[in-house]
C-alpha cells in the first residue's frame, strides 16, 4: 500500500513540529526565569551557587532548542524566516544578544581571572533571563496581532516602519504576552529550583515568590487570551490564497478546533495544578505538571495561530502579504525529506531524558558545591 502524502498534510505536520518546539522552548525557559532571581531568591552565597548550578546544568538545552526552533522554522517556513528576521531586525538581534551573553556567563562567572568580575557575568544572566522570555513572548504575540510589512512579487520583504520590529512593544497585547511568558518562566524557574536544590530555607522563600509571580502571570495571560478571543484575525482561501479579515477569528478557532481547545484548557489547568500542589501540598514535583502544562498550552496557542486557515504572520500593512502555512512553506520534497528526519525526534527526546535523569539523580546540596568538580 502506498500512502500519498500531500503538501498540505506536510505543511500542517511541520507547523505541529514547530509548535511543539515552541512549547518545549517556553518550558525550558525556566532557566531564564530562574536567572532573574539569582540575587533576590538566595540569602547566602552558597544558596546562590546552588541555584546557579541547578540552572546552569540545563542552559544548553534551552539554547539548543532555540537554535533548533530557528532551524526548523527556516527549513519548513523559510518565508517567515526571511520576513520576520529580515524585517523585525531589532527584536531578533536583541534576543540573540541576550543569549550570547548567557552562554558564556555560566562558564566564566566563577573562573579566576575572568577580567570583568563575577557580578558582571551575573548581570548577564539577569539580562538574558529578563529580556529573553519577554521579547520572545512579544515576538510570538505578533503572530496574532500582526506586523507592518509587505512582500513584493518575488517575496522580498520591506518593513514599513523604521523601527524594525521595536514597534511591537507599543502594542499592549504584545506586551501582555511578553510579560506572561516572563512570569511563567519565573514560576517554572522557582518550581525547578525547588525540585533540584535540597535546601529547606530556599524552599520557603521560593514558595513566597511563587505566589508573587503567579498573580501577575495570571493577570497578563488572562488579559491576552481574553483579548485574543475578541480580536479580528486573518483567514485565507485555501484555493486562491486570498487573505481576508474575519471578526472573532480566534474565538472561531477555539470553537472549531475542540481537540486543540481541550488541550489548551488542560495545559492551563496543569500549570495551575503544578503551582497548587507546590503551594498547598508542599510538593517539589510541581515543575513536571507546570512544565507539561506550559508545553501543551504554548503548543495549542501556536495551532490557533496557524491552523484552521489562519494567517500565522499577519501583515497589518498589506493584507495580501500575510503569511500562511501554505504560502510560506518549503516545497513538498523538502518537507517530506525533513519529515523522515523528524522521525528521529522521539529517540532524541529519549536520550535527553536519560541523560537528564543521570545528572539530576540526586539533589544539589551544600556538600556537593563544596566538593571538587565542574562548578559554575
Amino acid at each position: 500500500m502506498t500512502m500519498i502524502i500531500s503538501h498540505l498534510f506536510l505543511q500542517h505536520y511541520w507547523w505541529l513540529i514547530v509548535s511543539l518546539l515552541a512549547g518545549i522552548l517556553v518550558f525550558l525557559m525556566f532557566v531564564q526565569g530562574g536567572q532573574t532571581m539569582i540575587f533576590s531568591l538566595p540569602k547566602s552565597d552558597i544558596q546562590k551557587t546552588m541555584i546557579i548550578n541547578a540552572l546552569g546544568r540545563k542552559w544548553e538545552f534551552t539554547f539548543t532548542t532555540l537554535v533548533t526552533f530557528g532551524g526548523a522554522f527556516f527549513a519548513s517556513f523559510p518565508l517567515f524566516y526571511a520576513t520576520s528576521f529580515g524585517g523585525a531586525y531589532w527584536v531578533w538581534i536583541t534576543i540573540l544578544f541576550s543569549f550570547i551573553i548567557q552562554a558564556v556567563a555560566y562558564e566564566f562567572r566563577s573562573k579566576p581571572n575572568n577580567v570583568f568580575g563575577q557580578k558582571t557575568f551575573d548581570l548577564f544572566l539577569i539580562i538574558n533571563g529578563s529580556l529573553g522570555p519577554f521579547l520572545i513572548g512579544t515576538a510570538v504575540a505578533t503572530f496574532f496581532t500582526g506586523s507592518q510589512f509587505s512582500l513584493n512579487r518575488f517575496n522580498q520583504v520591506q518593513w514599513a516602519t523604521p523601527y524594525y520590529g521595536l514597534e511591537a512593544l507599543l502594542n499592549i497585547r504584545n506586551l501582555a504576552l511578553g510579560f506572561a511568558v516572563l512570569f511563567l518562566a519565573r514560576i517554572n524557574g522557582l518550581l525547578y529550583i525547588m525540585n533540584t536544590v535540597d535546601d529547606a530555607e530556599l524552599k520557603t522563600r521560593s514558595d513566597k515568590k511563587l505566589i508573587l509571580n503567579s498573580i501577575p502571570f495570571l493577570l497578563f495571560f488572562l488579559f491576552f487570551v481574553t483579548s485574543l478571543l475578541f480580536s479580528t484575525g486573518l483567514t485565507y482561501d485555501a484555493v486562491t490564497g486570498i487573505v481576508v479579515t474575519e471578526k472573532f477569528k480566534y474565538f472561531h478557532n477555539f470553537v472549531q478546533m475542540p481537540t486543540v481547545s481541550t488541550l489548551f484548557l488542560a495545559g492551563v489547568v496543569w500549570v495551575l495544578y503544578g503551582i497548587g500542589i507546590t503551594l498547598f501540598g508542599k510538593s517539589t514535583k510541581g515543575i513536571w505538571y507546570s512544565g507539561a502544562g506550559t508545553i501543551i498550552t504554548v503548543f495549542s496557542l501556536f495551532l490557533y495561530a496557524g491552523f484552521n486557515q489562519t494567517s500565522f504572520y499577519p501583515s497589518s500593512f498589506d493584507l495580501q502579504s500575510s503569511l500562511t502555512i501554505m504560502n510560506a512553506s518549503s516545497s513538498l520534497f523538502t518537507l517530506k525529506t525533513m519529515m523522515y528526519v523528524s522521525f528521529i525526534i522521539p529517540f532524541v527526546i529519549g536520550y535527553i531524558w536519560y541523560a537528564w535523569k543521570a545528572v539530576n539523580n540526586t539533589k544539589i546540596t551544600e556538600e556537593e558545591m563544596n566538593m571538587e568538580g565542574h562548578k559554575y
Partner: protein
C-alpha cells in the same frame, strides 16, 4: 527583481557576517579537535585505570569547557544572521539551505549539548563507561554539527540538487543526496574537521611544551605530547590530502576562484605551481581593476598543470579565459553570461506579469520554459549575472585570495614538520634535552589559528561577488534595512565578541598556569 541596493549596506552586512564568522571560527576548531583528544585520553584512563590519565583528561576538559561555551554563543548568531541580514537569500534558498540547518539542530546540537552536561557534571554520578560514551558522543556531535553547516556552505559554492520554481521565485530541492554528497561538501567537511584536529593538536602540543619549559606537570606534558603528536601528524597529512582534493574540485566548479588564488591571469599549458610569491601592481587593467603581477616568485615548473589535469600539457584556465571567453574551451565570456542572465530574468518577469494579468496560456508557456532543460543549462544557470554590471565585477579579490591560500599552505607544511619532530624527539627519548624545540609548538599555536582563518577567508572572499555561485550576488541577497542599523549592530557585536575573547584568553591562561591542581 534585483534593485540597486545601497552598497554600504551590502558592505556592512558582509562585514558583520565576516566578523561573526571569524570570531566563531576562533573557537570551533579547538572544540572539534579537543573533543576527540579528550575522548582518546579518557579511553586510555578507562582501559588502564590509571589516575594520571584521569587528571590529564580533566585538565584538558576544563579548557574545552571554557572554549565550548563561547563557540556556541557566537554560533547562534551566524544561524540567525542568515535571516536578519540576508533575508532575500533566506527565501531564495531556504528550501535547500534550511534543511541542513534543521537536521544539524535535531541530530547534532542535541547530541552535543545533552552529553556535554554528563561529561562536565557526571564524573561522580554515572559509571565510567557511561561517562566515556558521553565524551565520545560529544565529539561525534561536534563533528556532525560541522557536517551539516558545511553541506549548506558547500551548496553556496556549488549549487546542486535543485530546480528553480518561478511561482515562488526560489530554488527548491529535488535531490537531497546530491546536496549531501556534493563533491565540494565532501572536500570541505574532511578538510575542515581535519584542520580542527590539527589546530587542537598544536594547542595541546604547545601548552605541554610550555609546561616542560617551566619544568612543571611533566607527566601531563609528556603523555599529552604523545597523543597530540600522533593525532596531529595524522591530521596534518589528512589536511594536506583533502586540501589538494579541494583545490582540484575548485578548479572545476569555481575556476575564477582557482585562477585568483593562483593569481593566474592568462590561462596556459605547462602551468607552474607558485610555491610562494609577492604580488605587485602591473600596468595592465581588466576594466577598472588593476592586474596584479609577481614582484618575486618561487615557481615549480609544470606542477599546476599536473596537479589539476594530470599531465603537464594540461591547460589551466586563467582569469582572462572567463572575462573574455574562450571558444576553444567552450567558456562563455562574462558579457555573454550577463546577457543570458538578463534573458532568464526577463522570462521570470514576463511569467510574473502574465500571472498577475491572469493570462493562463502565457503563464503555462513561461512555466514550460523554466522546465526546459536547455533553458536551465544555457540561461537560468547564469541567472545571477543579471545583477552584474561590469564583467570585471565577477573577479574575486586576487590579492586576498592569493596570499590567504599560499600562506595557509606554507603553514600547513610547517605544522607537519613540527608534529613529526615532536614524535621523533619523544620516541628517541631526547625531548627533554632539546628544550629549544618547545618554543616552536608554543609559538605555532597562534599560527594554526591564522592558517585556519585564512582557509575561510579564501573560501568566502574567493566566492565573491556571489553568495550563491552564479545564481545570486551578495548585493541581491541582503535584507532591506538601513545601513545605520547594521553599522550599529556591527559595532555592538564587535565590542561584545572582543570583550568575551579577552575574558576567555585570560581565563584560559590562568587555568593553564594552575595545571592539574585546578
Amino acid at each position: 527583481m534585483i534593485e540597486n541596493f545601497d552598497l554600504s549596506l551590502v558592505d556592512w552586512s558582509r562585514a558583520q557576517f565576516a566578523l561573526t564568522a571569524i570570531y566563531h571560527w576562533l573557537f570551533v576548531p579547538l572544540t572539534l579537535g579537543l573533543s576527540f583528544i579528550i575522548a582518546i585520553m579518557e579511553t586510555i584512563y578507562v582501559r588502564t585505570g590509571k589516575e594520571e590519565w584521569k587528571n590529564i583528561t580533566r585538565f584538558w576538559m576544563t579548557l574545552f569547557g571554557i572554549n565550548f561555551a563561547i563557540g556556541i554563543a557566537t554560533g547562534i548568531i551566524l544561524e540567525f544572521e542568515f535571516g536578519t541580514n540576508w533575508s532575500n537569500y533566506s527565501w531564495f534558498v531556504g528550501d535547500i539551505f534550511g534543511a541542513p540547518l534543521a537536521v544539524e539542530g535535531i541530530l547534532a546540537f542535541f547530541l552535543e549539548s545533552t552529553f556535554v552536561a554528563v561529561v562536565f557534571f557526571g564524573w561522580n554520578k554515572v559509571s565510567k563507561k557511561f561517562h566515556l560514551t558521553s565524551t565520545w558522543l560529544v565529539a561525534i556531535g561536534a563533528t556532525l554539527s560541522a557536517l551539516w553547516i558545511l553541506v549548506a556552505n558547500a551548496w553556496m559554492q556549488h549549487p546542486v540538487g535543485m530546480t528553480f520554481n518561478p511561482e515562488t521565485a526560489r530554488n527548491e530541492m529535488v535531490n537531497f543526496w546530491a546536496v549531501l554528497f556534493n563533491q565540494v561538501a565532501v572536500d570541505k567537511f574532511l578538510h575542515t574537521i581535519s584542520s580542527g584536529f590539527l589546530l587542537a593538536s598544536m594547542f595541546v602540543l604547545g601548552i605541554s611544551s610550555w609546561f616542560l619549559l617551566r619544568k612543571r606537570e611533566e607527566i601531563l606534558a609528556k603523555r599529552s605530547i604523545l597523543i597530540a603528536g600522533v593525532f596531529g601528524l595524522l591530521s596534518s597529512f589528512l589536511v594536506a590530502f583533502t586540501g589538494d582534493m579541494s583545490a582540484r574540485t575548485i578548479s572545476k566548479v569555481q575556476p575564477l576562484k582557482f585562477a585568483s588564488m593562483e593569481a593566474l591571469y592568462e590561462g596556459k599549458s605547462n602551468a607552474g605551481l607558485i610555491a610562494a610569491g609577492i604580488l605587485k601592481d602591473s600596468k595592465f587593467k581588466i576594466g577598472d581593476k588593476v592586474v596584479r603581477d609577481f614582484a618575486v616568485k618561487i615557481e615549480i615548473p609544470d606542477l599546476l598543470s599536473v596537479m589539476t589535469g594530470g599531465d603537464k600539457d594540461s591547460y589551466v584556465q586563467g582569469i582572462s579565459d572567463h572575462i573574455n571567453g574562450n571558444t576553444k574551451l567552450g567558456i562563455l565570456s562574462v558579457q555573454e553570461k550577463i546577457d543570458r542572465g538578463h534573458y532568464a530574468m526577463n522570462v521570470l518577469i514576463d511569467y510574473k506579469n502574465s500571472r498577475m494579468n491572469n493570462d493562463t496560456s502565457k503563464t503555462e508557456n513561461f512555466k514550460a520554459v523554466f522546465r526546459d532543460k536547455k533553458f536551465q543549462d544555457n540561461y537560468f544557470r547564469y541567472f545571477g549575472y543579471s545583477s552584474i554590471h561590469k564583467p570585471e565585477d565577477v573577479v574575486p579579490d586576487v590579492t586576498i585570495s592569493f596570499y590567504s591560500f599560499h600562506l595557509m599552505v606554507i603553514l600547513g607544511f610547517l605544522f607537519i614538520m613540527i608534529f613529526a619532530m615532536a614524535l621523533y624527539f619523544l620516541f628517541k627519548g631526547t625531548i627533554s634535552v632539546n628544550r629549544w624545540f618547545f618554543w616552536i609548538p608554543l609559538i605555532s599555536i597562534p599560527l594554526t589559528y591564522v592558517a585556519s582563518e585564512l582557509g575561510w577567508i579564501l573560501t568566502e572572499v574567493g566566492r565573491q561577488p556571489w553568495i550563491i555561485q552564479d545564481l545570486m550576488p551578495v548585493s541581491a541577497a541582503v535584507s532591506k534595512i538601513n545601513s545605520g542599523t547594521v553599522i550599529t549592530t556591527f559595532i555592538l557585536f564587535g565590542v561584545l565578541f572582543t570583550v568575551l575573547l579577552i575574558s576567555e584568553i585570560s581565563i584560559m591562561v590562568r587555568q593553564i598556569k594552575m595545571g592539574t591542581k585546578h
